[in-house]
Amino acid sequence: MGGERRKPLLLPERARWRAGEERVSRRGEVAQLIAHADETRRRVREARRKQVREELARMEEIMAPVLEIDEATRVLIRAHLVAGGYHRRRGEWRRERST
């Protein structure tokens, strides 16, 4: 029929389930094709994961010095304020009455 598409008789997963992993890896042309497809999928997934890891590592490397300075500044501000007689109350800096 012109526009009609038939479903494949045996989906790869189903074929794998039927044949069992060992037999799939050893027997027949279809089994070899399925094994090859599996291997390709695994490689693509691994490559993607590697790309994600590398990109994130690169970004973290770019960010690290800025974040270090950010933290250092935070410590310096706090030290200055505490030395100047301020204390934090509910996130707000207030001058202590005794100082």
Binding site: R48, Q51, V52, E55, L56, M59, E60, E61, I62, M63, A64, P65, V66, L67, E68, I69, D70, A72, T73, R74, V75, L76, I77, R78, A79, H80, L81, V82, A83, G84, G85, Y86, H87, R88, W93, R95, T99
Partner: protein, 181 residues
């Protein structure tokens, strides 16, 4: 990353010491506050200068990365960030204000860089579009940088308010409209 761009071990040690002293002083330990003042007098000017300097140098590195190899864009970002830092610091700023202004400008460049990278990832014209999980993680990093950037602006305002010694002012305005009838 080049070691020359990072803080030195001595600076890190001084910062750790200041943090420990501030903790002790905030916990009300006797004598800790005067010890902190002394430590600040001794080490703060150098530590602040080093942090400011590192922030300035590093802005150049970020600008280079964000420019994607275009010298004109790199110079534009660098110059814009310097102008921004100078404008935020204002006239006759304290060293701490200079450092805070440098920190804001550096975080601004970082946010800009991440936005540029994000736009490249999402672009339809990018033949090797990034993995969705990478985009998700990148957007989280972008959000974290943005939060820090906004927090740095708030902190500068807070420090200025505290340094000026002005109490919080609440202004209530009442407008009475009298009817003609």
């Amino acid at each position: 990353m080049s070691g020359a761009l990072e803080l030195t071990d001595g600076t890190r040690e001084a910062i750790r010491e200041l943090q420990a002293l501030a903790d002790r002083a905030e916990n009300g330990e006797e004598g800790a506050r005067s010890e902190l003042r002394q430590a600040l007098r001794q080490s703060a000017p150098e530590v602040i200068a080093r942090c400011s300097n590192t922030a300035r140098v590093y802005r150049g590195v970020l600008a280079k990365t964000a420019s994607g190899g275009s010298l004109l864009v790199e110079e534009a970002i660098r110059e814009r960030a310097s102008l921004m830092a100078a404008e935020i610091a204002g006239s006759s700023p304290t060293p701490l204000e200079v450092l805070l202004a440098d920190r804001i400008a550096s975080l601004w460049v970082l946010v800009e860089l991440q936005e540029a990278l994000g736009a490249a990832y999402y672009s339809r014209e990018n033949p090797s579009r990034a993995d969705p999980s990478l985009m998700l993680k990148m957007s989280k990093l972008q959000e974290s940088a943005n939060t820090r950037y906004l927090a740095a602006i708030r902190e500068l305002a807070r420090v200025r308010k505290v340094q000026a010694g002005t109490p919080a002012v609440q202004v209530n305005t009442q407008v009475n409209i009298l009817g003609s009838g």
